[in-house]
């Protein structure tokens, strides 16, 4: 459960992501594909080489969606409803939550590499909770 303190930390960190959506998103995806090659199976139609326009574009999309989640942190279910439908009925990232967890880990590694010391244990905890909550909403309609 996200406390008021968690939400504040998440908003603060998100301010540092502003302006870097495409970079952070692309890096998160690249790290995910490199560290967890099984995730590439969801993108057979993409050029996954470093610097790929498709990966950059998709990374930006993903981070913008996370931005929406941050803005609607008190109502994730509603804010992410469309995306939830998409993941459940079209994309069916499988098993529910697991692959999303790998993206969550990859995104946190990006934040950690860019924020260094500022990615404190408290911020780490808040973000891990937040990304778990997002993943849970996206997996809500799986069955």
């Amino acid at each position: 459960m996200l406390t008021a303190e968690d939400k504040k930390m998440i908003q603060q960190i998100w301010e540092k992501v502003q302006g870097h959506q495409e970079d952070f998103g692309a890096e998160a995806l690249l790290r995910m594909f490199t560290a967890y090659p099984q995730t590439k199976t969801y993108f057979p139609h993409f050029d996954l080489s470093p610097g790929s326009d498709q990966v950059r574009g998709h990374g930006k999309k993903v981070v913008n969606a996370l931005g929406t989640a941050v803005k609607s942190i008190d109502n994730l279910s509603q804010a992410l409803s469309e995306l939830s439908n998409l993941h459940a009925y079209n994309l069916r990232v499988d098993p529910p939550c697991f692959a999303l967890q790998l993206l969550s880990q990859s995104f946190q590694v990006v934040l950690a590499t860019h924020l260094g010391k500022d990615y404190t244990p408290e911020v780490h905890a808040a973000f891990d909770k937040f990304l778990s909550a997002v993943a849970a909403v996206l997996a809500e309609k799986y069955r």
Binding site: L30, R31, T34, A35, Y36, Q105, Q108, V109, A112, T113, H114, L115, G116, K117, Y119, P121, E122, H124, A125, D128
Partner: protein, 147 residues
């Protein structure tokens, strides 16, 4: 037996050579207890774990973190024989400590984030891959003797 490429071995040892085992171990264990608070169930005797500050400053947490990461170093010294290296520890975690092996995976993830925050840009995607492989192998070896 796990197969390590020369590059993976190099990425692992080059990061490891720069790790302060005491600091990094303390940090990793503290974060485990902070980010996944249910893991505190294994450390009831450690005293004050009431807040992130308390956990990070707790001398028993720090000491135990150092112990855990030092043991990790054994895996790195014996990359080609991690299974045997952890036989006894695996039995210990099952028979005496009663730790759900899922927790090894959690600690592995935490360690990766600690390394990422510490090494920033130098923790490249290739590094991340090699270390992810290592933490997976360690977690697997620790779970191997469970019954």
């Amino acid at each position: 037996m796990v197969h390590w490429t020369a590059e993976e071995k190099q990425l692992i040892s080059s990061i490891w050579s720069k790790v302060n085992v005491e600091e990094c171990g303390a940090e990793a264990l503290a974060r485990l207890l902070i980010v996944y608070p249910w893991t505190q169930r294994f450390f009831a005797s450690f005293g004050n774990l009431s807040s992130p500050t308390a956990i990070s400053g707790n001398p028993m947490v720090r000491a135990h973190g150092k112990k855990v990461l030092t043991s990790f170093g054994e895996a790195i010294k014996n990359l080609d024989n991690i299974k045997t290296t952890y036989t006894k520890l695996s039995e210990l975690h099952c028979d005496k400590l009663h730790v759900d092996p899922e927790n090894f995976r959690l600690l592995g993830d935490i360690l990766i984030i600690v390394l990422a925050a510490h090494f920033t840009r130098d923790f490249t995607p290739a590094c991340h891959f090699a270390w992810q492989k290592l933490v997976n192998v360690v977690a697997h070896a620790l779970a191997r003797k469970y019954h």
